[in-house]
């Protein structure tokens, strides 16, 4: 490594602008590549209490991407702290814990419990808000504002708010997350989708699922572009990052870093491959990654 690949996301400096997307990463990848090279470590979203998630089938290949309905199975925050996050402490990159709640109150309680455990929290706002008929928090500016505010009251940790790509008014949602004290936005989660098998039955046990991978990149890139003009906080691009070109596209649209999910399933070493490619790109051009980031977030 010769180039300076570091970027800052609010109060946190990442040694490289590449990190895993929540739900697609675990320490098991440590047997395949050096986890210490990543910008951050992001385990799967956890909830306050244990929950099962959806029955299988949980995944299908659609439209050149993936569709998943895992359903956030979770051991609950206590078990996660003792059995899972403790093992992340052996690694250098910041631990970004992704959290999800059924209610605003749950978001607040989870955050309070994780204060002092994580280096930052990823607030997964794409989960159903049980107080609003199951509509995802991130589809509505008010629900987003309330959930993020509850987290903000419970911690001084950086809050990275992960939004949904099918929000009708994404700029309003982005502004609500910022106004409530969000320190960064992750754009975006999966796109709600449906697939049937030859017999006409849903391919996923949960009926609908979230589309990820190449098909969602143009949509996530649009969200980054729109948010870049709506808020001042840093943005993390997420959706269909496979190649160096994808990373650079997100930088140009206004992101300071990217998260990689589906591409890691495709080729396990995608993230370190991207870091190498970025290093080579920066070295060849004689620039630092921070110079490639088109937008200077405050």
């Amino acid at each position: 490594m010769t180039a300076d690949l570091s970027v800052t996301i609010g109060a946190i400096t990442l040694k490289a602008p590449i990190m895993p997307a929540s739900g697609t990463f675990g320490l098991g990848y440590g047997r395949v590549f050096d986890l210490n090279r990543l910008g951050a470590l992001v385990p799967k979203t956890i909830t306050l209490s244990p929950r099962e998630g959806h029955p299988p089938p949980r995944l299908t290949e659609e439209a050149g991407g993936l569709m998943n309905a895992i359903g956030i199975p979770s051991v609950g925050v206590e078990a996660a702290i003792h059995d899972v996050f403790s093992r992340y402490k052996a690694f250098e990159p910041p631990l970004v814990v992704s959290i999800s709640g059924d209610t605003v109150e749950e978001f607040g309680a989870l955050t309070a419990r994780l204060d002092g455990v994580a280096d930052a929290l990823e607030v997964n706002l794409s989960c159903p808000n049980l107080e609003a008929g199951g509509q995802a928090f991130a589809l509505d500016p008010d629900a987003t504002e309330r959930a993020v505010a509850a987290c903000r009251r419970a911690t001084r940790l950086p809050l990275w708010c992960k939004l949904a790509p099918h929000a009708g008014r994404p700029q309003e949602v982005a502004k609500a997350a910022e106004a409530a004290g969000g320190d960064a936005l992750i754009l975006a989660n999966t796109l709600l989708a449906y697939a049937v098998d030859e017999a006409g039955a849903p391919r996923l046990a949960n009926r609908t699922g979230g589309l990820s991978g190449r098909p969602v990149k143009p949509v996530a890139l649009r969200l980054v572009d729109e948010a870049a003009r709506a808020v001042a906080i840093p943005l993390i691009g997420c959706g269909g990052v496979f190649t160096l070109r994808d990373v650079l596209d997100y930088f140009c649209a206004g992101a300071s870093a990217v998260a990689v999910g589906t591409a890691t399933f495709h080729r396990a070493t995608t993230m370190v491959g991207l870091i190498d490619a970025l290093d080579h790109h920066c070295t060849t051009k004689g620039v630092a990654v921070a110079d490639l980031v088109a937008r200077r977030p405050s």
Binding site: G23, T24, F25, G26, L27, G28, Y29, G30, R31, V32, F33, D34, L35, K44, E52, G53, P56, P57, R58, L59, E61, G64, G65, L66, N68, I70, P73, A90, F91, G213, T262, T264, F265, H266, R267, A268, T269
Partner: protein, 258 residues
């Protein structure tokens, strides 16, 4: 952490042989595979533009100067992988997963063509010191959606030949004769890998007889390293297990659909 114990990258195909809907590949074996054991698996993908997004899991049949894999063509991924020729590069990730560890002899292996890889790996490792009960399918089944000329009888025969080559003594039986056939055996350990209906029968007999045993499971996979929770299968006590954290698990743990 022991990063680097699992290889992930491209390897070249040394030989590729096709017969009756089965494909046998000998691949360049990266150093990580020198200590790989029967039961373990790899994720494999073609670099062709028509390969689906996800690599597919396949059992390690044996490792010598080359890594030996074999698969049935059953869907889009295996259809594209079957185009591999000597000299092509394939994406390979592995070795992954747990191994068969039969600790009492004689070993009884229960297998079928839909799931021949892991038990074949064990049969090869035991170099003949095993009895294989091979469960055949109705001979007119068409297991390969892309090639109607391939019958279950063809594929069964091809898989059977691979077991026979290991030197094991092989008995064939149809599903409806399986119970009786098993009840005539007296294994020290049972090691199985077969479709659910076969496994349901075996599980019942083994439980009744008190035979210890292990089974290798299958499920669609994405990460193959325990991260995504895609590859889950139900257990008899109402939990879920991740197949990639197996695939070999105690015989009585999983719940099978009869």
């Amino acid at each position: 952490m022991d990063h680097g114990t699992v290889f992930a990258g491209t390897v070249s195909v040394q030989t590729a042989a096709h017969a009756d809907g089965l494909v046998l590949l000998e691949l360049e074996a990266p150093p990580q595979f020198q200590t790989a054991k029967a039961g373990q698996f790899v994720m494999l993908a073609s670099e062709r533009a028509d390969m689906p997004l996800l690599p597919r899991p396949f059992s390690i049949l044996s490792v010598g100067t080359t890594l030996s894999l074999g698969f049935a063509v059953v869907g889009e991924g295996t259809r594209v992988l079957a185009k591999a020729q000597a000299g092509d590069d394939l994406y390979l990730m592995g070795p992954l997963g747990t191994v068969y560890a039969p600790d009492a002899r004689p070993v009884l292996i229960v297998a079928d063509a839909s799931h021949f890889g892991t038990p074949l790996g064990l049969a090869r490792a035991l170099a003949g010191e095993a009895t294989v009960v091979f469960v055949t399918r109705p001979s007119d089944q068409r297991p390969c959606p892309y090639d109607d000329a391939v019958t279950a009888a063809h594929q069964d025969a091809a898989a059977l030949a691979l077991f026979a080559e290991t030197g094991a003594s092989v008995e064939t039986v149809a599903l409806d004769g399986l119970k009786a056939c098993l009840e005539g055996q007296a294994p020290g350990t049972v090691c199985a890998g077969a479709s659910d209906p076969v496994m349901a029968v075996l599980q019942q007999v083994a439980e009744a007889k008190g035979w210890p045993g292990e089974v290798s499971l299958q499920a669609p996979m994405a990460c193959a390293v325990g991260a995504c929770e895609v590859c889950i299968r139900p257990t008899r006590d109402g939990r879920w297990l991740k197949v990639c954290e197996g695939p070999v698990v105690p015989l009585q743990t999983p719940r099978f659909q009869p």
